[in-house]
């Protein structure tokens, strides 16, 4: 079993007062290492719940979930924290950077909570390397307010990557970005995926889902479709096209 993610017969139910809200019903999902999967669905479809469970922020009620070979079903809170620290990199819609810390301090954060005894020097080295990888090597000491939205999201991606996680979980990562920066971010994702990183993208826009390789569609807590992308978009060519259009408009 060399799947990165293995989910079997997973159920999750919420209670609001006495009302039972089944968020996920009988989910079976396997994701292999190196995949680029988009989880799609309207709001209320259960995609956020699924993402929280995959990201070890939440626990399933029934069924089991194996991440990178370890069964997370009966783990304690601290073990969850360890998994989040070592195996998962989060990228959020709202970037979720510490507003008063600069770029490199933000990227360092997961390493500070790492329990492998990494030295402060190595923490700094790794963080700078991660920022260079997302193209922000020259913005190390900029705080979030001094960065554009796209740059902030790159810092968040660098933070997600700094601990070499098994998967990168991106929850509507371009929701707060304009179309040009959106494509920029997807280009970075496609690049990272080509380098072997497993990426799970949660989105409700089919256009963006087409940047991935496989789309899993949720509706009312169930997986409705699970198909490979046939009309895949490539961010690099989209960017070229965009530049060309802009030039024509300028003329």
């Amino acid at each position: 079993m060399n799947n990165t993610i293995n989910i079997n017969n997973l159920d999750k139910t919420y209670f609001i007062g006495d009302i039972k809200i089944p968020a996920l019903r009988n989910i079976n999902l396997s994701i292999e290492s190196g995949e680029f999967v988009a989880i799609m669905g309207y709001s209320g479809s259960g995609k956020s719940t699924l993402m929280n469970i995959i990201g070890c922020l939440d626990k399933p009620d029934k069924g089991n979930y194996l991440l990178d070979g370890s069964d997370t079903t009966n783990m304690k809170k601290n073990e969850y924290a360890k998994i989040r620290n070592e195996k998962i990199g989060f990228v959020f819609q709202g970037f979720n950077l510490l507003p008063k810390a600069n770029a490199v301090e933000n990227v360092e954060l997961p390493l500070l909570y790492n329990r492998s005894g990494i030295t402060s020097e190595n923490i700094r080295k790794k963080s700078v390397a991660a920022l260079e990888r997302v193209g922000l090597g020259d913005r190390l000491d900029h705080t979030p307010v001094q960065l554009s939205g796209g740059q902030q999201q790159r810092v968040a991606i660098a933070r997600a990557l700094v601990n070499s996680p098994a998967i990168l979980l991106a929850d509507e990562p371009t929701g707060n970005l304009d179309s040009k920066t959106t494509i920029d971010v997807f280009q970075l994702f496609q690049e990272l995926n080509e380098q072997g990183l497993t990426i799970i993208l949660v989105t409700h826009e089919r256009d963006f889902a087409r940047y991935s390789k496989r789309i899993v569609e949720l509706r009312d807590g169930r997986i409705m479709k699970d198909k490979l992308v046939t009309d895949r978009r490539y961010a690099k060519s989209d960017l070229l096209l965009l530049d060309k259009n802009n030039e024509e408009n300028d003329l």
């Binding site: 922020l57 601290n78 924290a81 989040r84 989060f90 979720n96 954060l109 500070l112 909570y113």
Partner: protein, 405 residues
């Protein structure tokens, strides 16, 4: 997270909200400083009182009327004033441990002299009184046995009384009139300053006890008997001796209460020390309350901080912080605030105590024990009041915390 890294995170968080941190620590600064200053002032007062009592003459014994008891009805102290000159004579004849002895009967009179009048306390005493009190005559002489025996109309004035009546001129040889009876001034006492009770020891007139009894008060009773033990070492023996003589001459059967009280300076010292200790404790307690209020201030600010930084906590949790990491971070923040406050409080109090001693009449002492207690207490305040907000932060659900606006 490593402790040193947590400490750094806590420091950075404190420095990022400078003004708020300053205002929060201010509560602890004031609290700690007031504890140290108040206790210092209290203990300063205590040592002052002790010094003053020592200066009264440490071998002084005061015999005062006690409570009477007739037919089971007990009066309060002084309810039955029955000292007479006989008591004084008895003690004088029978004691072997007493040096000097003097009856004391004091009355307030409007005194006329030198073209002025002045209301002051007139003491009828024996010639041995200055020996007992260790008072010295500045000009002129004190009266002697001859004047006592002859009920002489002579008076010795306190420095202040002399100035009030005669200004700067030498009053020795002049006359004053007490209750319309002329008295010749034969001496003026040296300046002595305030007594423990706050009354001036310089505003008084001393006259022979016999003159007081037969010419002024018109009664045969005296208020107190002052005596001095021959040495400080046998003051207890002297005291017991006085009790024995008094019981015998008052015909008090074994088992019955004394109808008088004998006090020596150690007892007065103890009583006064106890009083000022209570005062110190009280001052310390009031100051302690302000430290407590400072602690509540920290708790308040930590709560606000946790709410404001809910998203930050969510971020930290999502990148792998454990509950105890968050708990420790916020606890360390609260503790750092209170310890910084404590340290500045100590510096501030040392400065204040120095200024008080230098520029005011108050004496305050710096007590190292109190400083240690204050530091420990401020650290405790940090832990105690920081714990609940920190726990609240640590137990946040990361999903909810991340969505917090």
């Amino acid at each position: 997270m490593k402790f040193s890294r947590l400490l750094k995170v806590a420091f950075i968080s404190i420095i990022r909200v400078k003004l708020r941190s300053l205002l929060t620590t201010l509560g602890i600064i004031i609290g700690t400083a007031s504890v140290i200053i108040m206790v210092g002032v209290g203990q300063g007062a205590q040592s002052n009182i002790e010094k003053q009592i020592q200066s009264l003459g440490s071998n002084l014994i005061i015999i005062a009327p006690g409570s009477s008891k007739s037919g089971g009805v007990r009066g309060g102290h002084g309810s039955f004033n029955r000292f007479t000159m006989t008591d004084v004579e008895n003690i004088q004849e029978q004691s072997i441990n007493l040096g000097a002895i003097s009856p004391v009967l004091a009355r307030f009179f409007q005194v006329i002299g030198g073209g002025n009048n002045w209301n002051t306390q007139v003491f009828g005493v024996s010639e041995q009184y200055p020996l007992i009190r260790e008072w010295k005559v500045e000009t002129g002489n004190f009266f002697g046995e001859r004047e006592i025996a002859g009920r002489a109309k002579v008076a010795v004035l306190g420095k202040e009384t002399a100035e009030e009546l005669f200004g700067n001129s030498n009053p020795v040889g002049e006359q004053i009139r007490i209750k319309n009876i002329p008295f010749k001034i034969i001496g003026v006492l040296e300046e002595k300053g305030q007594s423990m009770t706050g009354r001036s020891n310089d505003d008084l007139i001393l006259i022979p006890i016999s003159s007081m009894l037969y010419r002024l008060s018109g009664s045969r009773y005296i208020s107190f008997i002052f005596a001095s033990a021959k040495s400080v070492e046998n003051i207890d023996q002297a005291q017991n001796e006085v009790i024995k003589i008094m019981r015998k001459s008052h015909n008090i059967n074994p088992g019955q209460d004394d109808d008088f009280m004998v006090q020596n300076q150690t007892e007065i010292t103890e009583a006064a020390t106890e009083t000022s200790q209570v005062m110190t404790l009280l001052l310390g307690a009031v100051a302690g309350v302000s430290l407590l209020v400072g602690g509540i201030g920290i708790m308040n600010i930590m709560y606000v901080s946790v709410t404001e930084r809910t998203r930050e906590i969510g971020i930290r949790l999502s990148v792998g912080a454990r509950e105890q990491d968050i708990l420790l971070q916020f606890l360390l923040e609260a503790m750092t605030l209170s310890i910084i406050g404590g340290v500045f409080g100590i510096l501030f109090s040392i400065l204040t105590i120095y200024l008080l001693n230098e520029f005011s009449n108050l004496t305050a002492v710096i007590n190292p024990l109190i400083i240690i207690i204050a530091v420990l207490f401020s650290a405790f305040v940090g832990i105690f009041f920081g714990f609940y907000p920190a726990k609240k932060a640590a137990e946040l659900d990361p999903i909810i915390a991340l969505r917090h606006e």
